[in-house]
């Protein structure tokens, strides 16, 4: 079979089983778009901004575990994609981004719409390629998908110069069955000796904590994590990225940890004597002040990426390997071994945890005359029976979503944890809905974040992805305002927008349903009404309490045991702003 470069690219995507490609055309990719025109296997989703393409592909990848695929033109198309690539990179999301490039003879001449895409993306990809010969296309694609999806996943960019896809040049095509890269062989199985030591240490614990992150979800190890936790009977906390990796409604789950985690999870970490970190990377939003982090604990760390181990925190037993086989080995060792967890110590430990839980660190004023953002998320949880895919943007609403929507399954909670990219939520929701057309998909957002990729409302209409937008409209960049309240003596420098669009009209202009909800008693019925409209995108503009803050909070430079709690839960909050 003789194919042009452009046809080869499309054929490679088919051979990789790619369902959707999220893209936006331009001069350098016209040959590629022409090749897409002649087929129907790979469905092209035309976004309205290249950032939207990357986030949509990212959402698709997070919801399915399959790589998201993006196609953008050279120059501005490529640079617009960079934020989304970096977003995927920091959360280790498998993605393949094909960017057009100017023709090889003019590379380096500041040609029209030329940027050094390989150079620009080098620090925010797992790997990137520039294809210089049509003969290299198939092998490069095979490698790109292999690198993106194996080991610690991540985005891979393939820069394709226009002349490589020239319709007049054809060569025989064959997609390689296998790849072998001498320089890339991710470790799979953990070291058995290390795993044995880890099990022994775990069983010796009096105040154990399981601290599990996004690696559990990426590594498809939720089942194993759940089994291990129940077998041990130990308390477990998830990172923001790990939510859903362990069922939130299980009695062993003591909530998210870190900056806005539960009091019990953070105190538990602080007091613990043995911590097992599973697919988590000791991010600064999790650890707080490093010198005060888990002062009494011996630490076991399982991670696929050796560079994650001992990067921020010294580890006693490192285990490099895929989470799933490592946990399987641990479970087997625990089952066949004679030693069991220390029941008595564990009972005392759970009692201690119960006293922290009794503090109810997420409590908020339930009698408020204003709509509380927490209440909206709670109602959303009930209306969707806890079974929706929830994407979010970045800010207070993201933290309320993480705190109040209890995820029992992996890949349901989809947010930009590492880069914290405002604008992520809506396009990501579109990608999720394409992957799971029958599921409820909601984007929890804020009035500032949603405006960063609002143009994708148009994509949602064209491709019939009826998602529900839960806009927690507090009139402020709430998270910024909160920091300014706490640390800058309430000087709200530019965290307020004097003009905010009428979202109901805006939604209608884009062809969707808009709703504005102003009273607490209207929250539930409005949600029910919206979710009953299965085939419509509904923009729900909730006018929420403008002064609400996210509690508890570990402020910058503080340790886990030093959390800022809401002053006497339930008391009216400073209303200066209202």
């Amino acid at each position: 079979m003789e194919l042009t470069g452009a046809q080869i690219v499309v054929q490679c995507l088919k051979d990789e089983g790619v369902e959707f490609i999220f893209g936006y055309p331009g001069g350098a990719v016209l040959h590629l778009y022409d090749a897409l025109f002649h087929q129907e296997d790979v469905k092209h989703i035309l976004v309205r901004h290249e950032q939207g393409a990357t986030h949509a592909a990212d959402g698709y990848a997070r919801a399915t575990g399959k790589p998201g695929v993006v196609l953008v033109t050279s120059g501005p198309g490529a640079t617009n994609a960079v934020t989304g690539i970096a977003t995927a990179h920091l959360d280790s999301i498998p993605m393949v981004v094909i960017s057009g490039q100017v023709a090889t003879p003019v590379i380096g001449s500041d040609a029209f719409q030329e940027v050094d895409m390989v150079g620009i993306t080098r620090p925010c990809v797992k790997h990137n390629f520039l294809i210089k010969d049509i003969k290299d296309i198939a092998e490069t694609f095979k490698k790109a998908f292999h690198v993106a999806t194996t080991g610690r996943p991540g985005p891979v960019v393939i820069d394709v110069p226009k002349d490589i896809t020239d319709p007049n040049i054809k060569i025989p095509y064959k997609y390689p069955k296998k790849v072998s890269m001498r320089s890339y062989n991710p470790v799979v199985k953990g070291h058995k000796g290390q795993i044995k030591k880890a099990v022994a240490l775990l069983l010796s614990a009096k105040k154990p904590m399981i601290y599990a992150g996004g690696g559990v979800i990426l590594g498809g190890a939720s089942k194993q994590l759940t089994e291990l936790t129940r077998l041990l009977g130990y308390p477990i906390t998830n990172t923001l990225m790990g939510l859903g990796g362990f069922p939130a409604t299980d009695k062993h789950f003591i909530g998210m940890l870190g900056m806005h985690g539960t009091y019990e999870a953070n105190m538990g970490m602080h007091e613990s004597d043995v911590i097992i970190a599973i697919g988590a990377r000791f991010d600064d939003r999790v650890t707080g002040k490093l010198t005060e982090f888990c002062p009494y604990a011996k630490i076991i760390h399982i991670d696929i990426d050796p560079a994650s181990i001992a990067k921020n925190v010294k580890v006693d037993i490192p285990i490099v390997g895929e989470v799933k086989p490592v946990l399987e080995t641990m479970i087997a060792l625990l089952k066949e071994g004679k030693n069991k967890p220390n029941k008595k110590a564990l009972a005392t430990w759970w009692e201690q945890i119960a006293t922290w839980q009794a503090l109810d660190s997420f409590a908020y004023d339930r009698d408020s005359e204003f709509i509380k953002p927490q209440y909206v998320v709670e109602q959303l949880y009930e209306v969707t029976k806890g079974d929706a895919f929830i994407t979010s943007d970045v800010g207070q609403h993201q933290m309320f979503a993480a705190q109040f929507y209890h995820f029992d399954k992996p890949r349901r909670w989809i947010n930009s944890g590492g880069l914290g990219t405002m604008g992520f939520g809506l396009p990501a929701a579109i990608g999720v809905k394409l992957a799971h057309p029958k599921a409820d998909v909601a984007c929890i957002t804020g009035e500032a974040s949603i405006q960063m990729c609002i143009q994708e409302l148009s994509t949602a209409l064209q491709f019939k992805t009826p998602v529900k937008i839960i806009n927690l409209n507090n009139g402020y960049m709430g998270m910024v305002r909160q920091w300014q309240e706490f640390s800058y003596n309430s000087r709200y420098s530019h965290s307020y927008m004097d003009t905010i669009p009428e979202f109901v009209k805006l939604a209608e202009a884009y062809g969707h349903v808009g709703m504005r909800i102003e009273k607490p008693e209207d929250v539930r019925p409005a949600l029910e009404e919206a979710f009953a409209m299965k085939d419509r995108t509904v923009f729900m503009d909730f006018m929420t309490d403008r002064t609400e803050n996210v509690y508890p909070m570990i402020e910058a430079g503080k340790g886990h045991h030093d959390m800022r709690l809401r002053v006497a839960p339930g008391t009216p909050i400073d209303r200066e702003l209202a």
């Binding site: 390989v118 150079g119 080098r122 620090p123 797992k126 790997h127 520039l130 690198v147 890269m181 001498r182 320089s183 890339y184 990426d305 050796p306 560079a307 001992a310 990067k311």
Partner: protein, 163 residues
């Protein structure tokens, strides 16, 4: 502490910039970096001198390993090894100083490889501190130009860094 890291890396466009970019992005320092193809033309060998505490060096080697183009690497500081650096040094000469510089060259086992009525070019290899010593021994005012390759190194004994 100073470390000398030897890297076998795919001989591909951009491979060098991945290494250099990693160091600048993560704020590691590079004292010197040399790179050239090996007997296997698909591979380049890089020698990188850096400094940092144990934890930083551990991160550096792990992050280097993570680069897809890096095939193999070792930290030569972990083993008994030999280091050599090449220096070319141009000095002003006068009738009075010519003999003296020649004598110094002999002591340091350098070679004079270019001679004009007013200058010498001296070629010298050795451990970096020997080259430092030579420079210190020459009158600073007479030095026109110094070119140093940065160290390269190899471990002692029969084991080697190869595929």
């Amino acid at each position: 502490m100073r470390h000398i890291i030897s890297i076998l890396i795919e001989n591909e466009a951009g491979a060098l910039s991945r290494v250099a970019g990693l160091f600048s992005a993560r704020g590691y320092n590079i004292e010197s970096l040399t790179v050239a193809p090996t007997e296997d033309e698909t591979l380049s060998r890089m020698t990188l001198v850096t400094a940092g505490n144990e934890q930083i060096i551990e991160q550096i080697t792990k992050q280097l390993h993570k680069l897809i183009d890096v095939v193999k690497l070792i930290d030569l500081a972990d083993s008994v090894h030999i280091e050599r650096e090449l220096m070319l040094l141009k000095v002003k000469t006068t009738d009075e100083t010519r003999e003296e510089i020649k004598r110094m060259c002999d002591i340091f086992r350098g070679k004079i490889i270019d001679v004009t009525s007013k200058s010498y070019v001296v070629e010298m290899t050795g451990p970096s501190d020997k080259l430092d010593a030579f420079i210190a021994a020459i009158n600073n005012d007479s030095i026109i130009e110094v070119v140093r390759s940065g160290p390269t190194g190899i471990s002692r004994g029969e084991n080697g860094l190869r595929l």
